[in-house]
Amino acid sequence: MHHRWLIPLLLVLLGTALPVSAAEQPASPFFPYPMKVDRLPNGLTVIRVPFNSPGLIAYQTVVRVGSRNEVEPGRTGFAHFFEHMMFKGTKNFPEGEREKVIAAYGYDDNAFTSDDITVYHSYGPTAGLLKLVELEADRFRHLEYSEPSFQTEALAVLGEYHKNAALPWLKIEEELSRTAFTRHPYGHTTLGYYDDIKAMPQAYAYSRAFFERWYTPDNILLIIVGDFDDAALMAAVQKHYGPWEGKSASIQLPKEPPQKQERSVHIDWPQSTQPQLLYAWRTPAARLDTSDAAVQAVLGSYLVGSTSPLFKELVLDKQLAQDLDGSTMPHRDPHLFSVSATLQKEANRAAVRASLNAAVKELVTGKVDATRVEAIKSRTRYGLLMNMETAKDVAQQLSWYAGIYGTPDALARHVQKISEVKPGDLVAFARRYLTAANRTVLSLTPQQAGGQK
C-alpha cells in the first residue's frame, strides 16, 4: 500500500472543536438524557450521562484509531490485534491481574475494533467504578507486554479469522474494500488479510510504535453512563488520567484518488451460499457541518429498507431476492454507500440489477416519496429511544458517534441532522454520488447455487 508521511498533524479531520474544560447539555429530542462533558488539560475528553440503572454503570474508552490507521504495507489488522494486546498487563497489574479485579466485581468486560475506532467497554457494578478508573488509566498509560505473550495472542487473532472465514461476507468485504480503494487503508478489512495475520507474531516492535502513536489522551474519549457520583468519579479521573502525557501522531493518511469509471469484482464462492449482488458508491466523509452522513442514513432505508418499493417488489412480490441490505455507517474519511441483494438464484441477477438501477434512476430524475422520508425520520427518532434501554446501550451508541465524529454530542447532532433531511436532499445526493462511474459492482456466485446439492 502506497503511503506518505507528513509533518503537520491532520488527525482531526473534522475541525470540530471539543469543549475545553466543562460543559453541560440538557436532554433534547435528539438525545433524551442530560450529559456532562469535561476536557482535561492533556486533551482527554470525559463524557458522563446519569442514567436510571441502580447500582450499575457502563464505562467505555473510545480510541480514535481503527484499521484506517494501518498505513504500512503488511500491517493490516493491527488496530484490532492491538486491541487484544491492551489486555496483556502493566507493571502495576501484570498480565491477568486486571482481569482478576474486573472478574471479582462481575463486570462484562471486552472490546471491539472497527475501521475508525477501537472501543473498550465494561458494564457492571457502580461499586467497582473508582477501581475501574484506576485500572483503565493504568493500562492506557503503562501497558507492558512481553514478546512471547504478543506471539501467543497473534494465534488467538488467527483463530478469530478462522471462525469467520466460512462466511462469504468476510470475503465480500475483503474484495469490495480492495476494489473500491486503491490507496486509502479502507482498502483492507478491520480483521486484516490472512497472510498479514499469520505474520503478526514478527511485529512486536511495530506494536509498541502503534501504541505510542495512537493511545494518547488527546485521541481518547471516556464515556460513563449509569448510576454514579459525578464528583467522586471526576476526582478519580483527574487523579489517574490527569498525569497522562502524550500527543497523537501526525500522519496523513493516503488520499484516495477520485474514481473515474465503474469498477467490478467477482467472487466464485467454492461452497454453498446464496448468490450476492452489491453496489457500492464512493461517498464523502461523515462531518457534522454537512448533511452527507444523515442523507446516507435516510437513503439506505429509502432504497432498500423493509418498506421500500424495491423490497416489496424483489423480496415479497416477485421473490427474486431473499433479502436486501444496505450499509450506511458514518466514516471518518470518504467511504462507501452500499446496497446489496441476496439473490434467490443466480438466474435472477440481471432482473435484480435492472430493478436496482431503475430505483436509483427514479430518484435521480427527481421522483421522491416524501411520505416515506417522513416515516424513515420517525423510525430513526423512535428507534433511538427503543435502543437505549440499558446503560450499556446508551454508552455504546454514544461511543460509535463520538468516536467517529470526534465530538461528545455527535449522536444527538447526527440524529438532529437526520431529522432535517428533506426529500430533495436524497435527489441531490443521488445525482451527485449514485452514478455508474462512481460505483463498484460486486457479484458472488456459489459453486452450488442456492445450496442445492
Partner: protein, 538 residues
C-alpha cells in the same frame, strides 16, 4: 423487524476481542503448578451415586392457561409484550421437521387478514416497533416492543398476527425458501461453530424429538404445505400452552385488553408430546465433513440436572468457573486461549445455552425438560484438534479431582454475584426469567442463585460436580475438512504433542505432556462421519 445494518458491517465493524490475559511473564501470584489430575475414577471425595443409564423426562410444570405475568415500570416509555407458548420443534410431526419454526415465522411476518406482509411492515416501520418470533425445542416466543405513543395501534397488530393471520401462500413459499437456505447455506456451510453445536444436539438426542434442527430438515421443509401450517398454528398456539408477559408502562386496562383479546385463541389443541428417556451412553463422536480452514468442536452430555434441583446452582457455578460464556476469567479460556493461543475462546455450560443476540447472556424461554451440559471449543487449526479436546477434558478432570482453590472460588463467586445482575436489565429478559420460573418452579431464580452462591463452599461445589459431571458420558461433535484423518486419530488415540512458536514455561510444557496423553472417552465403534451437505437431510 429488519434492521438496516449490513452484514459486512456486522462482521467487520465489531471485531470483539473476546479475551484478555493471564500467561505469566513474571512469576504469577502464588498459584502452584496444577497437580496432575488423577483419572476421575479414582475419587478421593464423597462417593457418588452410580451414573444414570438414561435421563427420563420429568415434565415441566404447566402454568394455568393464558397466565399473565406483569413487570410494571410506569416511568419507561417502552411497552414490552412477551407471549411464550410451551410449543416448539418437539411438536413438529415426523416428516415435517421445521413446521413449528416456519409457522411462527409466517405468523410474525406474513401479514394479517386486513394487512398484507408489506402493509404490516409499513405499519410497524415509523414506530420502530419490534415484532419477532423465535422457536426452540419446547418453546416459541412472540415478542413485541413499542413506544407508548403507538400502543393502541401496535396492540392491534401484535394480537392480529396471532388471532387473524393471513396465511398468504406467497409468503409461505418465501419463508419456506428462506428456511431451506438457512439450513443449506447458513447451517451447513457458513457457520462451523453453529454446525458443531447442532451436530452435538443431533448426537446427544438421537431418536428423540430434540434431535432435529429447530429450523427443520431438508425433506421436512420440502414436505410442509400451507394447510399443515394452518393446522399446526391451531394445534400448538393455544391458551393452555400460553403465558402472557407484559412490561413497561402497563396499566390494568392494558392487561385486561390483552388477556381478553388472546382469549380468542383456541383453548386447547394437540396433546403434549411425551418425551422419551434419553440414554446417557457417552463415548460417541460425530465428525461433520466440509471444506474449512479449521476444526470446530463441541462436546456434551445429557443430564437429569436442571434448574430447581438442589445441585443445579453449584454445578452452574463450577462450569462458570471453568468457562463462563465469552468472558475472560474462565479456566478454559485462560489455559487454552491465553496461555497456549489455541483459538479464540473456550467455554462451559451447565444447561443448554443459546447466546442472546447483542449480549453474552443465555436466551430466556429456551427451557428443556431434558437438559445437557456442554463444552465449546472455538475453531482450532486442524493439527491441534486432538490436543484442544484433550486439554478441555484435562481441565474438566481437575474440577472433578479437587475442590476449586479458595481464592479462585471467591473470585468466581464474586463475579457471578455481580454478573448475574446484568442478565436482568431489560424488560424482555425480566419477563423471560419470570415466565421460565413458572415452568421450572423456580421463583426469583436469579435472587435464588445469588443466595445459593453466598452459601456455597469449595467442598459443596466439588461434591455436586462429582455427582453430576462425568467425562465418560460425553459425546463429541467435530466440524472439519479432513474427517478421515481426524477419525483415524480418534481411533488410534496416539499422544498429541504440541509445539509453540513462542517460549513457554517448563511448567506448561510438562502439563502439555499430561494433556497430550489424556485418553479421549470415545469408542472406536461409535464414530461416524457425515458430509455437511447431507446433514439434517431428513
Amino acid at each position: 423487524m429488519r434492521p438496516l445494518l449490513s452484514r459486512s458491517l456486522a462482521l467487520g465493524a465489531a471485531l470483539y476481542l473476546g479475551g484478555c490475559a493471564t500467561a505469566s511473564r513474571t512469576a504469577p501470584a502464588p498459584e502452584a503448578a496444577p497437580p496432575p489430575a488423577p483419572p476421575p475414577a479414582q475419587a478421593q471425595t464423597p462417593a457418588e451415586p452410580p451414573a444414570p443409564t438414561s435421563v427420563p423426562a420429568r415434565p415441566l410444570q404447566q402454568p394455568e392457561p393464558a397466565r399473565l405475568v406483569v413487570q410494571a415500570h410506569p416511568d419507561s416509555p417502552i411497552v414490552s409484550f412477551r407471549l411464550v407458548f410451551h410449543s416448539g420443534s418437539v411438536d413438529d410431526p415426523k416428516g415435517k421437521e421445521g413446521l413449528g419454526a416456519l409457522t411462527a415465522q409466517l405468523l410474525a411476518e406474513g401479514g394479517t387478514q386486513s394487512l398484507s406482509s408489506a402493509q404490516l411492515l409499513e405499519a410497524l416501520f415509523p414506530m420502530a416497533a419490534e415484532l419477532d418470533a423465535s422457536t426452540d425445542k419446547e418453546f416459541t416466543v412472540f415478542s413485541g416492543r413499542v413506544h407508548k405513543d403507538f400502543l393502541p395501534r401496535f396492540l392491534e397488530l401484535f394480537t392480529d398476527v396471532l388471532l387473524k393471520p393471513r396465511f398468504d401462500p406467497q409468503e409461505f413459499e418465501r419463508l419456506r425458501s428462506l428456511a431451506l437456505s438457512d439450513l443449506r447455506n447458513g447451517l451447513r456451510s457458513e457457520n462451523d461453530e453453529a454446525l458443531g453445536k447442532v451436530a452435538l444436539d443431533a448426537l446427544l438426542y438421537e431418536g428423540h424429538p430434540y434431535a432435529h434442527f429447530v429450523g427443520g430438515t431438508e425433506k421436512g421443509l420440502e414436505a410442509i404445505t400451507l394447510e399443515d401450517v394452518k393446522a399446526h398454528a391451531a394445534r400448538v398456539f393455544t391458551q393452555d400452552r400460553l403465558v402472557i408477559g407484559l412490561a413497561g408502562p402497563v396499566d390494568e386496562q392494558l392487561q385486561r385488553t390483552v388477556v381478553s383479546r388472546l382469549s380468542a385463541l383456541p383453548a386447547t389443541g394437540a396433546p403434549r408430546v411425551e418425551l422419551p428417556a434419553v440414554p446417557t451412553t457417552g463415548g460417541r463422536a460425530l465428525v461433520v465433513q466440509k471444506p474449512t480452514l479449521s476444526t470446530a468442536i463441541s462436546l456434551g452430555a445429557v443430564t437429569p440436572l436442571r434448574r430447581g434441583d438442589p445441585d443445579f446452582f453449584p454445578v452452574a457455578f463450577a462450569l462458570s468457573y471453568l468457562g463462563e460464556h465469552r468472558q475472560l476469567g474462565g479456566v478454559l479460556f485462560n489455559e487454552l486461549r491465553e496461555k497456549r493461543g489455541l483459538n479464540y475462546g473456550d467455554y462451559a455450560y451447565a444447561e443448554h445455552f443459546i447466546e442472546e443476540r447483542g449480549t453474552t447472556y443465555n436466551r430466556t424461554n429456551i427451557a428443556r425438560t431434558q437438559q445437557d451440559l456442554s463444552l465449546w471449543i472455538r475453531p482450532v487449526v486442524p493439527d491441534n484438534a486432538m490436543f484442544a479436546t484433550r486439554g478441555t477434558l484435562y481441565f474438566l478432570d481437575q474440577l472433578l479431582a479437587q475442590p476449586i482453590p479458595a481464592e479462585k472460588f471467591e473470585r468466581s463467586r464474586s463475579f457471578l454475584l455481580g454478573y448475574t445482575r446484568l442478565w436482568e436489565q431489560t424488560d424482555q429478559r425480566r419477563l423471560g426469567y419470570a415466565i421460565d420460573a413458572l415452568f421450572l418452579g423456580t421463583p426469583d431464580y436469579l435472587e435464588q442463585y445469588r443466595a445459593a452462591l453466598a452459601k456455597m463452599t469449595p467442598e459443596s461445589v466439588h461434591a455436586a460436580v462429582r455427582r453430576h459431571v462425568r467425562p465418560e458420558s460425553l459425546d463429541f461433535a467435530f466440524v472439519t475438512q479432513n474427517a478421515e484423518g481426524l477419525v483415524k486419530q480418534l481411533k488410534e488415540q496416539a499422544s498429541s504433542p504440541i509445539t509453540y512458536a513462542s517460549p513457554k514455561s517448563l511448567e506448561l510444557l510438562e502439563q502439555d505432556k499430561a494433556i497430550g496423553a489424556r485418553p479421549l472417552p470415545i469408542r472406536p465403534d461409535a464414530i461416524q462421519i457425515v458430509p455437511a451437505d447431507t446433514f439434517m437431510e431428513k
